[in-house]
């Protein structure tokens, strides 16, 4: 399948000389939800701004739906909707006026029925005549989403859509994003809530210090880099581990009442059977077993740290 967005060797050095992006290559597949993760200042917004035409790349090429974003900017941009990170709205405009303005700006003939539909979906219909400055932050965020959807884009960028949004609204947004995907819209979102990426994304990209550290299918990523742990609740506390258990990556916890065994999910052999046998031989009895999986958050933190350590080694 041809990528709906293709980023090739894109880099950005800002006027002050700061390099925010270093040669990023990325393909976004049609119809997927792609989550871009990375710490503050990693370059997420810069990358999105370049694709959307707000920031000029210093180097590299990008196509959106097959159209070069610079040479063929009309065709490319009319496919794209953007909800930026910053809440910037025209305070004095009404919700209705500002959403219709966006549609016109993107070259679409007026379509009040469609605008009504998205305002209703975003629970903004009863606010349509309100001035934007009279809305709460969460409502403003929804107005910006309505603006981004007003011209029926096939690619939607959400730059931290759920920052400062309450739990309920966050669930609503996830619902909306899933609905969009069902209707064929490709969604690229950035977030600091790993939970969000874990919940929503098909694929995940991790960006750090302007470099795309990794792009991976979410499930593969969690399988590959995820670690599983087995907590073994002991009948009687142990002080030291017998020699025969040293081969296992074991940790003594809870003042000797618990053993924690960490194993790689990628390995064919988990080693659990052997461990249990060895415990048995040593006469260590246990009363409970319980396994847990590392979350995407832990994976992410590990990745970023690893990346930082490598940088320190190089630098």
């Amino acid at each position: 399948m041809q990528a709906i967005i293709s980023v090739k060797g894109v880099g950005k050095t800002y006027a002050g000389g700061f390099t925010a992006l270093k040669s990023v290559d990325l393909d976004i597949q049609r119809g997927e939800i792609f989550a871009l993760l990375g710490p503050n200042g990693a370059g997420k917004t810069t990358l999105i701004s370049i694709i959307c035409g707000i920031v000029n790349p210093s180097i590299g090429r990008i196509t959106a739906d097959g159209h070069d974003i610079q040479r063929d900017f009309r065709a490319a941009r009319s496919k794209i909707g953007l909800v930026p990170q910053e809440l910037s709205t025209d305070s004095f405009e009404s919700v209705w006026a500002t959403v219709n303005f966006s549609r016109g700006l993107f070259g679409k003939a007026p379509n009040p029925e469609y605008i009504e539909k998205i305002l209703r979906q975003l629970s903004l219909w009863d606010k349509k005549d309100s001035k934007i400055m009279a809305l709460s932050g969460g409502m403003k965020r929804r107005v910006m989403i309505a603006k981004a959807l007003s011209h029926e884009p096939s690619i939607l960028f959400l730059d931290e859509p759920t920052a400062g949004v309450d739990v309920e609204l966050r669930r609503d947004m996830w619902e909306m994003v899933r609905g969009l995907r069902k209707s064929g819209v490709t969604v690229i979102l950035t977030t600091h809530y790993i939970e969000e990426a874990e919940e929503m994304a098909d694929r995940i990209g991790v960006i750090n210090h302007g470099e795309l550290v990794l792009v991976e299918d979410k499930h593969t990523l969690m399988r590959k880099l995820g670690k599983k742990q087995l907590a073994i609740q002991l009948q009687n506390p142990v002080s030291t581990l017998p020699e025969s258990l040293h081969a296992f990556t074991l940790e003594v916890a809870d003042e000797g009442n618990q053993l924690i065994y960490t194993f790689d999910t990628q390995r064919e052999h988990t080693g659990i059977a052997e461990l249990l046998r060895a415990l048995n031989q040593q006469g260590i009895e246990f009363k409970d077993l319980h396994s847990s999986e590392s979350s995407l958050e832990e994976i992410f933190v590990n990745l970023v740290h690893q990346n930082q350590n490598e940088r320190q080694l190089v630098g």
């Binding site: 006027a15 035409g53 065709a75 025209d90 004095f92 016109g104 700006l105 070259g107």
Partner: protein, 255 residues
């Protein structure tokens, strides 16, 4: 793909709506302030002055007063129109939209110029309550009106792009344009000046605008009307070149 007409219309409508919201300050004030000029200069003082080249003083100052408002309103409207989205951050939408430089300028400058022309016409109508006047060349009168409105709206657009704070936004209109218009022959014929100052005055571009505009009213001019027209077009061309350069390089718009 062809031109994004809906895009131009959206910007134009947005800007006109902004004018509508601030009707008092954007339309009423320029008209009222011009009335004050008529009362003070046209009626009170002008009554004691004689005619200038066969035109009563009250009528003589009409074209200059209209130009005065036209220049300051065009500049302030267009500069604020583009400065504010930059300031508030809403410019992201225009930058990410499928609109070309031409379409952006057509929307912002078109709206600012429309507003200035409306103000000009309102002043013209209001003047009728104070003094009698005729318009010798109505076609040229409107021609100069529109040309000047467009040119200085474009100049305002450039200032709005260049300014990164409110002070910069005000400084050119205040420190450059206002003195030039006052010294540009709005209240006198430059023939009334000593010869040396007549020469100096010719370096003031506003002289050509007012002179040409006055010619359209009364058929009298300080400089040849052809020169006036040429100078106006020259300035328009200079502004267009600057705007073209701004969009080409992304100067202060796109990082």
């Amino acid at each position: 793909m062809s031109m994004n007409v809906y895009g131009i219309r959206a910007i134009y409508k947005f800007e006109m709506a902004r004018t509508g919201r601030t009707l008092m300050q954007s339309i009423a004030w320029p008209v009222i302030s011009t009335c004050l000029y008529f009362i003070v200069f046209g009626t009170a003082i002008g009554g004691r002055l004689g005619e200038i080249e066969g035109v009563s003083y009250g009528a003589f100052i009409i074209p200059g007063l209209i130009m005065l408002s036209l220049l300051s309103e065009s500049i302030s409207n267009a500069s604020f129109g583009i400065f504010f989205p930059k300031f508030s951050g809403t410019i992201y939408e225009v930058l990410s939209a499928p609109v070309s430089a031409f379409e952006v300028v057509a929307g912002y400058v078109g709206a600012a110029a429309t507003k200035s022309v409306i103000i000009g016409i309102l002043i013209l109508i209001t003047a009728r309550f104070f003094v009698d006047y005729d318009i010798a060349h109505p076609f040229w009168m409107f021609g100069f009106l529109i040309l000047t409105a467009v040119t200085f709206s474009m100049f305002g657009f450039i200032i709005g792009v260049w300014a990164d704070d409110f002070q910069k936004l005000q400084i050119i209109p205040l420190m450059v344009i206002t003195p030039l218009t006052f010294l540009g022959g709005a209240f006198y014929s430059i023939n009334m000046l000593p010869e040396f100052w007549q020469k100096v005055t010719l370096f003031n571009p506003v002289v050509y605008l007012i002179s040409g505009f006055r010619w359209a009213f009364y058929g009298i001019a300080d400089v040849n009307v052809g020169v006036s027209l040429a100078m106006t077009l020259l300035f328009l061309f200079a502004c267009m070149t600057a705007v073209w350069w701004i969009f080409r390089t992304g100067y202060k718009i796109r990082t």
